[in-house]
C-alpha cells in the first residue's frame, strides 16, 4: 500500500498515485462527456447528412441554411424573446422575496428558504402539466371564471399561446432566481447600509445606490441560471405552447427525431451555444461594470 510508504515520509505532501486517483473521475467526465461530446457536436455541424452517424464530407451548408432560412431567425428570435421575458419576470418577482429573506425573515429564514426551494424538487413534467390543467378550455381558470360569473363561455385564449409558455416557465424556474439573489444580498455588509442612512440617504436612495448595485452579481447569476435552460426548452412549448410557440429546442429535438438530420441539428445547437455565449459575455461585462463600482 502506498499509504504506508507515504506515512514514513511526512514531507511528501501529495503522492502521484493519490493525485491521479483523485483527478481521474473528474477528468474522465469533464474531458470525455463534456469537452469531447461538445467537440463532436461542432464536428457534426460541419458535415453533410448521409444518414450515417458522423455524416460525410465537410460543408458549411448547414450553417448557410440556419442563417438564410427566415424560419430559423423567427424561431430563434422567439426563443430569445420568450426566455428573455421569463428571465425578466422571474428575476423581478424573485428580488423582493430574496430581499425579505436577507433582511426581514429573521428566525423564519431557513423555513422560508426551504419552502421556496421545495417546489423545485417536484417533477418538472408535472409542474408544467399542472399549468395545462389551469389554462385548458375545460381547465381550472376557465371553470373558476365561469363559476364566479366573470365569463359565461369558456375561452381558448389561455392555452397554446406564447404567453402560456412564459407563465409556465416563470413558475417552473422561480426558485432558481431566488437563491443567487439571496446569497448576493446576504453578503452585503450591514455597515454599508447603515453608513448610507447615517449620511442622510433615505431608505429608497440607499436601496437604489447601495443595495441594488451590490446585489447585481446575484441578479446576473440568477438571470443566467434561468435564461439558459429556458432558451433550449422543448417540453413546455409542446405541452402548453401550441404551434405558435415552437422554440429552438423543439427544432433541435426534431432534427434528432422525426426529421433525422443530425448534422443540421448539430448546426442549430452550435448556433444556440453561440447565442448563449454572447449573452454570457454581455452579462460578464455588465457584472464587471457593477463590480468595479461596488
Amino acid at each position: 500500500m502506498s499509504t504506508i510508504v507515504a506515512a514514513q515520509v511526512p514531507e511528501v505532501r501529495s503522492s502521484s498515485g493519490f493525485r491521479i486517483g483523485m483527478l481521474l473521475p473528474g477528468a474522465l467526465v469533464t474531458f470525455l462527456l463534456i469537452l469531447f461530446a461538445l467537440a463532436l457536436v461542432i464536428f457534426l455541424a460541419f458535415r453533410a447528412n448521409d444518414g450515417s452517424l458522423l455524416g460525410a464530407g465537410f460543408t458549411v451548408a448547414n450553417f448557410i441554411t440556419v442563417v438564410s432560412d427566415p424560419l430559423y431567425w423567427t424561431v430563434t428570435l422567439r426563443s430569445l424573446v420568450i426566455a428573455g421575458l421569463v428571465t425578466f419576470a422571474t428575476v423581478v418577482t424573485a428580488y423582493p422575496v430574496a430581499y425579505y429573506l436577507a433582511f426581514h425573515a429573521g428566525r423564519r429564514r431557513s423555513l422560508l428558504l426551504f419552502l421556496v426551494t421545495l417546489p423545485f424538487w417536484t417533477s418538472y413534467l408535472l409542474r408544467v402539466f399542472a399549468w395545462k390543467i389551469v389554462l385548458a378550455y375545460n381547465g381550472v381558470l376557465n371553470s373558476a371564471l365561469i363559476e364566479s360569473g366573470v365569463w359565461s363561455e369558456p375561452t381558448l385564449a389561455f392555452l397554446n399561446t406564447p404567453a402560456a409558455v412564459v407563465v409556465t416557465l416563470a413558475h417552473a424556474y422561480a426558485p432558481f432566481a431566488i437563491l443567487p439573489i439571496y446569497v448576493a444580498l446576504d453578503t452585503i455588509p450591514k455597515s454599508l447600509i447603515e453608513a448610507a442612512s447615517d449620511l442622510g440617504a433615505r431608505p429608497f436612495t440607499s436601496f437604489r445606490r447601495v443595495v441594488l448595485p451590490n446585489s447585481m452579481p446575484g441578479v446576473l447569476a440568477a438571470a443566467l441560471v434561468v435564461f439558459v435552460p429556458t432558451v433550449g426548452d422543448y417540453v413546455t412549448p409542446a405541452l402548453v405552447g401550441g404551434p405558435a410557440s415552437t422554440m429552438i429546442g423543439t427544432l433541435i429535438q426534431a432534427q434528432f427525431g422525426k426529421a433525422n438530420d443530425w448534422p443540421f441539428g448539430a448546426a442549430l445547437s452550435v448556433a444556440v451555444m453561440l447565442v448563449i455565449l454572447c449573452v454570457v459575455l454581455v452579462a460578464r461585462a455588465t457584472d464587471r461594470r457593477f463590480g468595479s463600482r461596488a
Partner: protein, 266 residues
C-alpha cells in the same frame, strides 16, 4: 416590524401561493372522481391510486428510475467530491480547469447536453441505453454536487488537513479519515439532490433512453391519453410526497452539518 417589511411579508406570502397553487392541483385532482381535471369537483375517490398498483409498465419504469438515480447520484457525488477537493487542495492548473469545466453544464441547455451525449454513445457503440442515461445524469447533476462539495470543503479550516499532514498522515489518509468525515453531511445532501435531479430529469433522458423508459418518460407517454390523466395525477402526488420527504431530509442533514462546524470555522 416596519411598514415596508410588512408589505414585503404580504408579497412573500402571495408569491408562495403562486408557487404552490398549481402544484397543489395535482393531489387535488388525484382524489377527484372524474376523468376531467376541472371544477366543480366530482367527489372523493381513491380508485386512481388503486390503478397505480399492479401496473407493470409503471413499476418497471419506477425501478429503472430508482436504479439509474442511485448509480448516477453515486457517480456525480464521487466526481463532485474529487473535483472540488482537488480544485481547493490540488493547487494545479489542471484541477482548477477540471473544476471549471465540471460546472459548465449549467451554461448548456439540456437539449444540447442530450444530443451531444446521443452522438457520443452512438460513436462508442453503446447506443441509447441505461448506461447512456447514467452518463447523462452524472453530467446534469455534476454542477450541483461540485458546488455543494466545494463550499463544504472551503468551509473546513485549512489548519485541520495541515495538522493531519504534519502529524504524518498521508494525503490519502488525510482525505479519507479527516476531510471526508468532516464533510459527510454535505456528501449526503449532494447525493440526495443528485438523486432527485436524476429521478425528475426528462429533457436529457428523452434522447438517451433505449427500450427501458424511466419514470418521467413513462409519465410523458401517458400525458397523451386523456383517459390515463387521473392515474398520472395519483402517480404525481406519490412522487411529490416522496420528493418532499427526501428534499426535507437533505435540508435537515445539511443544516445539522452547518450548525455542527460553524463555530470551529470562525
Amino acid at each position: 416590524m416596519d411598514e415596508g417589511g410588512r408589505w414585503l411579508g404580504i408579497y412573500v406570502i402571495a408569491y408562495l401561493i403562486f408557487l404552490y397553487l398549481p402544484v397543489l392541483l395535482i393531489p387535488l385532482f388525484s382524489i377527484n372522481d372524474s376523468i376531467q381535471a376541472a371544477f366543480p369537483l366530482q367527489g372523493f375517490t381513491l380508485q386512481w391510486y388503486a390503478t397505480l398498483l399492479g401496473n407493470s409498465a409503471l413499476s418497471s419504469a419506477l425501478l429503472n428510475s430508482l436504479v439509474i438515480g442511485a448509480i448516477a447520484a453515486t457517480g456525480a457525488t464521487l466526481c463532485g467530491i474529487t473535483v472540488s477537493y482537488m480544485d481547493l487542495y490540488g493547487r494545479s492548473p489542471l484541477s482548477a480547469t477540471i473544476s471549471a469545466i465540471a460546472r459548465l453544464p449549467i451554461l448548456i441547455p439540456g437539449v444540447i447536453v442530450g444530443i451531444s451525449l446521443l452522438i457520443l454513445v452512438n460513436l462508442i457503440g453503446l447506443g441509447p441505453s441505461r448506461i447512456a442515461i447514467v452518463l447523462g445524469h452524472i453530467l446534469v447533476a455534476l454542477p450541483t454536487t461540485v458546488v455543494i462539495m466545494r463550499s463544504r470543503f472551503a468551509a473546513i479550516p485549512k489548519t485541520i488537513p495541515e495538522a493531519a499532514l504534519d502529524l504524518g498522515a498521508s494525503d490519502w489518509t488525510t482525505f479519507r479519515r479527516v476531510m471526508l468525515p468532516l464533510s459527510l453531511p454535505a456528501i449526503i445532501s449532494a447525493f440526495m439532490l443528485a438523486f432527485l435531479i436524476s429521478f425528475d430529469e426528462f429533457i436529457v433522458v428523452f434522447f438517451l433512453a433505449g427500450t427501458e423508459p424511466t419514470l418521467p418518460l413513462y409519465i410523458w407517454s401517458q400525458l397523451r391519453f386523456p383517459k390515463s390523466l387521473p392515474t398520472v395525477m395519483a402517480l404525481g402526488t406519490s412522487i411529490l410526497a416522496v420528493s418532499f420527504v427526501i428534499a426535507g431530509t437533505a435540508e435537515l442533514v445539511r443544516h445539522r452539518g452547518l450548525g455542527a462546524t460553524r463555530p470551529s470555522a470562525k
